[in-house]
Symmetry: C2
Subunit: 422 residues, 2 copies
Amino acid sequence: MSILIKNVLLNNKRCNVKIESNRFVKIESNLTIQFESNNSTQIIDGSKFAILPTFYNMHTHAAMSLMRGYADDLELHTWLEDHIWPLEKNLNEDIVYHGARLAILEMIKSGTVFFNDMYFFPFGTARAAEELGIRADIAPVLIDGMDDSKTEDLITYAKDTIDHSPLYSDRVRFTVSPHAIYTVSSKTLQQSAALALNEDLPFQIHISETKTEVKNALNTFGLRPVQYLDSLGILTPNVSLIHCVHIDDTDRNILYERGVNVVHCPISNMKLTSGRFEYRSLHDIGIHLTLGTDGACSNNNLSILDEMKFAALSAKTDSEDPTVAPAQEIFNIATINGAKAAGLNTGVIEEGKLADCILVNLDHPYLVPSGHLISDMVYSASPECIDTVICDGRILMRDRKVMGEEEIIRDANEAYLDLIQK
Amino acid sequence: MSILIKNVLLNNKRCNVKIESNRFVKIESNLTIQFESNNSTQIIDGSKFAILPTFYNMHTHAAMSLMRGYADDLELHTWLEDHIWPLEKNLNEDIVYHGARLAILEMIKSGTVFFNDMYFFPFGTARAAEELGIRADIAPVLIDGMDDSKTEDLITYAKDTIDHSPLYSDRVRFTVSPHAIYTVSSKTLQQSAALALNEDLPFQIHISETKTEVKNALNTFGLRPVQYLDSLGILTPNVSLIHCVHIDDTDRNILYERGVNVVHCPISNMKLTSGRFEYRSLHDIGIHLTLGTDGACSNNNLSILDEMKFAALSAKTDSEDPTVAPAQEIFNIATINGAKAAGLNTGVIEEGKLADCILVNLDHPYLVPSGHLISDMVYSASPECIDTVICDGRILMRDRKVMGEEEIIRDANEAYLDLIQK
């Protein structure tokens, strides 16, 4: 299977782009040069489009899309204890599968082809990702309630889950994600980190999300959250730390020196009033920043387009400097930085890279007048600007149609009724 | 001309909605009751849709959509002095007309049917609004450079513009908008306010946008900006004050007591780092709040959907309270509050009201699972969720198609080249 995208705009030049199997194999700006094609080559007229990298959503809880709008505008503990946690008791693999399908549909329709997931019933999420053709790192959420007698069982569960990865394509694998330092014992944290290192896998954890978390860590461990993780020896470059809202100078230096990835979730931080992410200081020291939507409950969609606009504008306003977080920088964080953190050789349209790309409609009002595409993608674009999504050399969306979307929507509405037990 | 929308969701109930001329004339939840219809009745199957009020964009500079992405991520004075103002010297009525058409296309596609405009060449903007079927209050921007020898000419110009209103339909009229207290003399401010009162028209002015403006007002007038306007006697209920970012307790009380409208432009405030709008204190004292997108240069789109999400989330995060600015409150500010400030008897779907409404696609992923429509509109929806837009009893968009959009896009790209003189 190969794809030939003819006469498409790439970095302000018209090009022909050839995809074979799952790679960009040829990009040619001399349009008179003919590429080989045969009956199995799908040809796309790119004359109305620009080609851009896709987005990489570095933190979400995909199946929570079923809880979109279920409980908004509430104080954090009321939200969790009275609404979300009781509902999560009703989850099963089938509900998670249908929730993840809805989430993946949303993500494809907004140009995202990879998500890093932390949730229950990971096989439900993995099946949805496998079927819908998206990339995913999926971790069962590890929680031991600070009881390290449960460590062994949890690590066995995590290892067993990881051992299922070979049953899926290269796009989908299971990874390691303890929930947080206030729900997971130090023993489970260390052993899960060791498991991730042994298996050469990413490791994700929520950290320094709220002031309360920092205060409690100082009381319990005598250390701030990042410094506590560092004291356990688990901050290595395969680690992605989610949120990192409350960071002091020492924390920041540790994040930089350990080479960890930081996943910024600006919309979730604002909706839950977690605090102000110190974009400028974290970026300027050279920390590898990526973007995540978090779950639909605290967003309430899974569009990296929204996330980029919030990331840029909150960074500017928090630093009182409109030159902070310029469009190209934020776009890179949402694309190539995510791909790098996920260990994917892509995030940029170049020969030899994995063939992930979107085609955006240059005649969409949000991209007019033409000539400022990256700015438009960050500050102006809506999902509708994206016509086509290609992941791993395969077309997932064309003319904004995703195969089976009516069924996904119908099933998600039914799964929601199961979830709320109506 | 009449429209019958059958079996559409309104406030969680299925209804039939009849529009005659420019009013909702009948809303019936007993679906077995037959409405009269004839050959000229357009029937819309509403079974896949919910009907909602439209949005009212209370502050923009429509033609600046041509400058979308032209100069981003810059310090305010560099942005204005080196980029925007030099470009504005090239404006003419034709360029403004094409820029306003692009802006109106965007607004219709995101469910907005009214905009309050302050810009140059108002006849260009008015022609665009008239042709495309949207409502608009359009004011030539009044600037005298603090030189009150120009007052008479400016007021004559404003009055002459207003006198053109009868040439347009009831949807379009000319209003009064001096630019700001640092660009307009007190004499022009007072005489323009008197003109607006005499003509029974709205009056808009930018106020308290930046710290610098407040500091300079204190130096120049010995008063903070709001108090200076009040000292001139021009704060009456027909006045809309744009921005109001830097407000103290006295200012706030004055805004409330004078019954003025405040236009909150959260995205512009964040992008230009103007400061933090004190949503909670302004709302809680009972001030009439509305939303505006400001111009595309400082946004960079004209979608009230984006504006609602930023308004809600910035209000929460600034007050450190996730219960502040709940979805229904923000939705009302974007709809009925805007309509009220514009003097329009609509903003809600009720018999007798002007027939402004949108039909949203309940099968769009961002509105699934169903049952939380207002939350979804504020936190999750993208323009694509909106299928149909009706303004003043006339269909402006159906199945996301606006008549003539290809031509609008083509002309806007050409007008941009004229603007940058390439």
